[in-house]
Amino acid sequence: MEPNRVVITGMGMVTPLGATFAECARAWREGRCATRQPLPELHGTPLEDIPVATLPGIKAAERLGGRRMLKYMSDAAVLGCLAGREALEDAHAKVRFSPERIGLYAGTGLATADIDEVKAMVEASIDERGQFSCRLLGERGLAATNPLLSFKILANMPPCLISIMECIKGPNLIFTPWEGQTGAALLEAWRAVAIGEVDCALAGAADNAAHPATFIYLHQAGLLRLNEYPASGAAYLVFEPLETATKDGRPIYAEIENVSLSPCDEGVEDPLSEPLGRTFAAAPAILLGLKSIHGGGRLSICGVDQQRLEIELKASS
């Protein structure tokens, strides 16, 4: 049986360039760059003057239908849920496909915790010698933190929250924490649609790389080159067979002709690093979204995990 031709019919995005895909795409077309400012949490440290990309106002509670779910969410989960919802709505996916036939293929970045929640727990766990005490953690430290803390730091939670909020029940894969892993998610989503394992795939990633602890790690590990700066962001895309999109009269951003992921020795290559900042796990999905508005062409990105993602895009006719 011939594999399905796979097209992109939905886009969702939150980046320093905009709070929606339309805003990000407009800024990208106009050649705008991310706004940057130093992190207040790092004032007084050697990173105090080095800015990171800032996100626009995202109106998370309003767009995600209230504050109830936000208490379970890390910042990356919020970004991912916003992008996932926008992409599914853009493609009208939830009214066209059964939940069991929608797959979810995602990348996630390094885990990040709310510093205030951790601080309260640690503060209550310091003994009279000024040392961290497991005994005190058990006695009072745990009671001082958000009981849902584990949900915020488990790496699979951002995509799982999308599944729960959007009722996606199909096959799934979640990879972490760098660009090549999201590349694998995009590759598997493309394959799953091509072979008919799913009728539709939501594929993408979210990364809170501008979190202070992550910024420190990236700096320490030498993962940011001169003039590079971290950025948080998310992008999700809806893939489906060309035949379905055509039959349903859905607008098509681009056709994905081929996806490959292979070892790369040439060092990091992220075409978004200058205008947008380094979004690490989110970068391949953001790049695919922004490239798709030009219709065709070739996308290539090589990340920290030394795996090169290449995607051949064809303009929609």
């Binding site: 949490e41 390094l110 497991c134 058990g138 006695e139 849902l148 729960i164 029940k169 096959p171 790690y217």
Partner: protein
């Protein structure tokens, strides 16, 4: 489509840090659950875990990383054993390395500076190189493995919580079957037996506080189950095209037949009470294996000992195996190992593999009284003979991710 063989298996677990010792404990029904020794948990409500207490024979640089992040050493040890059994010296070439894990380790001590939690002061020290970073990326294990054994074409780190290891194996199985790769090393590794790991899951109410039960505190399907017990370890498998392995004269341990994954889309912590996600996963895995439910001869359940999981899983099994569930022997080896999180699925697949080879089903050692709603054909005694051909194992994760795998005995 190629047939897919298992040619190597390595394991590090609370009941044995190699294949033989793991099986010896499983078959005899020896529990690895005991009071926590990795840190002082005496003031925690949860005081039990399935710890790996033996020191692993690891290269010094791996030991160094493992002192901070023990799961990395477990992954390395299990991988080395699996590759050795399969006669694989290098991962170069059309090889997939795909391993699953769940949570970065976070040392709470690191954020204290001069007796106070002071993130800025700690950050200054980190940036001066005086203290290590707070982040412990989940791909550390795969990096160490590829440093030692060579760089595969793809190296993936799956983070689908308790389903991560099973997903890694299932995805690798499909990749070999479709001829995308010629060899895969796949599985899972995990350890959450640290203050934040145990504390965080205690806060979620997922762990038993029935500490006086000791080695029998993890009680899957039992009427007095009160939550799961954390375990730690790793299990790695080598998968190859069956015909290629046979042509090379390799020992084929078993054949991987089917895999599926689904999402509950219900709750972060609780399974769908109807068991729809669990049932769909098993049905899809059987379809993937071209099997009917009546052809399955043994099930190693997810069986965590939590109120919700066990009842929902039992319900889903009864639904999928409507005609035969009363005759299919099921076990829950978490009763001995505890819940190894991302490594749980792979360790349980290892139990299935060894059950096929040794023709014995390991028992659910803590099951005294089957809970209402958990009725299945439970195996509770060591030494239960098993001559069946097909086995199925389930892994259901926090966040609603489900995975099922099907193995077949290989008789040449």
């Amino acid at each position: 489509m190629k047939r897919v063989a298992i040619t190597g298996f390595g394991v590090v677990s609370p009941i044995g840090v190699d294949r033989d010792s793991f099986w010896d404990s499983l078959a005899r029904g020896v529990s690895g659950i005991s009071p926590i020794t990795h840190f002082d948990a005496t003031t925690f409500e949860v005081q039990l875990a399935g710890e790996v207490k033996e020191e692993l024979a690891l290269p010094e640089h791996v030991k160094e990383v493992s002192r901070e992040d023990p799961k990395v050493g477990f992954a390395y040890g299990a991988c080395a054993e699996a590759l050795s059994q399969a006669g694989i010296a290098s991962l170069h070439g059309r090889v997939l390395l795909h391993i699953g894990t769940s949570l970065e380790i976070f040392n709470l001590n690191k954020v204290i500076y001069e007796g106070k939690p002071d993130f800025k002061a700690v950050a200054r020290d980190m940036l001066k190189g005086i203290s290590p970073s707070l982040q412990t990326p989940l791909d550390r294990a795969s990096r160490l493995i590829t440093q030692q054994f060579g760089r595969p074409r793809q190296s993936l780190t799956n983070c689908s919580a308790c389903a991560a290891g099973a997903q890694a194996i299932g995805h690798s199985f499909h990749a070999i079957r479709s001829a995308y790769f010629e060899l895969a090393a796949c599985g899972g590794f995990d350890s959450m037996i640290n203050p934040l790991g145990v504390g965080g899951f205690q806060l979620l109410g997922a762990l038993t506080t029935d500490n006086q039960r000791g080695a029998r505190a993890c009680r899957p399907f039992d009427s007095e189950r009160k939550g799961t017990v954390l375990g730690e370890g790793a299990a790695i498998f080598v998968l190859e095209p069956l015909e290629k392995a046979r042509a090379e004269g390799k020992e084929i341990l078993a054949e991987v037949m089917g895999y599926a994954s689904t999402l509950d889309a219900y709750s972060l912590s609780a399974p769908d009470p109807d068991g729809d996600g669990a049932a769909r996963t098993m049905i899809m895995a059987l379809k993937d294996a071209s099997l009917s439910p009546s052809e399955v001869h043994h099930i190693n359940t997810h069986g965590t000992g939590t109120q919700l999981n066990d009842e929902v899983e039992a319900k889903a099994i009864r639904r999928v195996f409507a005609e035969t569930w009363e005759k299919i022997p099921v076990t829950a080896t978490k009763s001995m190992t505890g819940h190894l999180m991302a490594a749980g699925g792979p360790v349980e697949l290892g139990a299935c593999l060894l059950s096929l080879i040794r023709r014995v089903i390991p028992p659910n050692v803590s099951l005294d009284q089957v809970a209402e709603g958990c009725e299945l054909h439970h195996v509770t005694e060591p030494g239960t003979r098993f001559e069946g051909e097909y086995v199925l194992t389930n892994s259901f994760g926090f966040g609603g991710q489900n995975a099922s795998l099907v193995l077949r005995r290989y008789d040449g």
